[in-house]
Amino acid sequence: MSSRRSRSRQSAGSGITDDQIAELVTRLQQLLPEIRSRCSDKVSASKVLQETCNYIRSLHREVDDLSERLSELLATSDNAQAAIIRSLLTQ
């Protein structure tokens, strides 16, 4: 109990409360399709963090794939398509 007290005191001293952390974790959790789809409210913080790490890695992989594909596409795309997009965005 004393440890808890001291911890809260300490965190309060550093300007960050446990509540803030919890809220951040919750927000992070909402970004994770894995956990979000599970619809169980109670997810441990470590689980959220683990999923976040996994998710970030997967996103990295996706980005890699997509960038590769995009570069490929851009290289091969014809001018007509590019023109359409250009006109679209520069309206």
């Binding site: 109990m1 803030q20 790490c53 997967s58 996103l59 980005v63 570069s71 965005l89």
Partner: protein, 589 residues
Amino acid sequence: MDRQYQAEEDFRSFFVYSGLFTLPVWIPKAAEGTEGQRTGHGSRDHMEAEGVFRSKSSCSAAIIMPLFELLRTMRSKPETNPAPSSTPADPSPTPGRDFVELVWEDGQILAQGQSQLNRPWMTSSNTGLVQPRNCSEAESGQKAGNIRGLEFGQGEIGLGKEGNAVPWLSYPFNGSLHCDDFCNDLLPELPGIAGVTDCRQHLGCNTSDSIRLFENSVGGEVAVAEAGPVQPGNLSPDSSALQQQQQQQQLWLPFLSYRSSILEDAGNVKAMAAEDQGRVCWNEAENGQTGCVATEDGGIMAEEEKIVDNGTSSVCSANTVERGTCYPKHCSKRKSRDDNESDGPSEDLDGEPAIEKTRVSSHPRGTALKRSRAAEVHNLSERRRRDRINEKMRTLQDLIPNCSKADKASLLDEAIKYLKMLQLQVQMMTMGAGLYMPPFPHTGIGVGRVIGYGGMDLNASNSVARRPAIHITPPVHGAQFPAMHHGTLQRAFSNPGQGIPMSMPKKSLQPTSATSLVASAVSRHGAAPATTGSSSMETVLGFFTPTKPNPVCPRDQPPTQSGALRSALETSDTNMMGLGVASMASYRK
């Protein structure tokens, strides 16, 4: 009384025979229940509680003591009980049973005398081998030094020494003084004294008249024992009174011993005298109601000071109250021993610092045991959990580029932003890829949506973090992709757990031109700033250029690939990509 004694004997016999040397920590219920039990001497509850308590204490003492020691002590002491020789179990309740707390600390076993005040429970040394020397000392009557806390080197602990174990029973009071935080946590503060019971009942049987009665202080602080053993004349070792005094001293000693230095050898007599004085003081204090018993440091300090003044070292004197609470143990038995034994240990003690109240690795019995175990388990699991989280945090920090944030909150914040950015990036790139699927109008729809949801929002608010999760519908139905792109996109979306939440629009909107849709999306979000211009192109290029800090998978993306993309962007002059990346760039701001 019969019942109490019986219980005591049973316990003792049990432990002795079982050969347990480890002393289970016992928390007397009486201590916890103090208030309610404090009723009166005569109240049955009270009596029972004490009986239990006492029996425990005796048990502990018995346990700690080696059998032969126990036997010897018992024999030596005719007064206490008949038939000591026969079995250890026999011992009638002796007035002075001390409890010494043996704490395993840093490889050394520390015997701590516990003040009654704080600790309701007794701790025992972990190893059966440990034989506290204190016993011998206690016997000699110098108890003070001994009890105080002896540090036993491990070597010292060896069987060869015949120390008597001095188990001591702490009495829970307010619980502030000596108790460690740990103890405090575990133990509820006890306002009243559990031990306040009548001395007469317990002590009286064995002990001589010296201890007459313990009175419960009204304050509930401590029962005051008015005892009168303090008589210099009693010093003669033989007299039972002396023994009792010694016992008392022993009991108290632990209490005071913490701070005070130990007596010199000389000391039996001195100690005794000091004790007497101390007692007197104590008694006086009691009268004043201060708290001799009181758990407050002040009271204790005062006592110590008095003692010091008297010339005695650490020995605390009076302890009627404690005595009452502690319940006499084997000390009385020990008294039989002479000064000789005592001298050795006392000397040792002199050099030693006061006992530290360290976190006791105690093995409390009963509720205390449960509680402490629960607490330990909780602490352990809590620590593990924290370690796990911290580890994940570090991993997360590694995954987030350019994240120098040290504290958790900002790291999490960063992670959220980065995650959103990544999701957006994937959307944009997917969209971009989809955009280039020439024949499919549906693709355009998807793009428009993506931009409307993600890109514009990002540009507008420039604070990704505050937005709720971005719900982006996948722009393209996988099946609609041309064969050449199908595989890749499928890969991107194939893993629902990894990828973007998918809601595949089976029924797409009217096939319209991508242009109009995107435009509408932009206009719908009014904010549609034109970050997407040429500057955005720079962003794009910078984004994929390894030379600049690259928020996106800096490691994984080979420079050649970036170069290829860059060249592709340059050649195709796609502002669309610029739009997407511009939003990503906002993350970096």
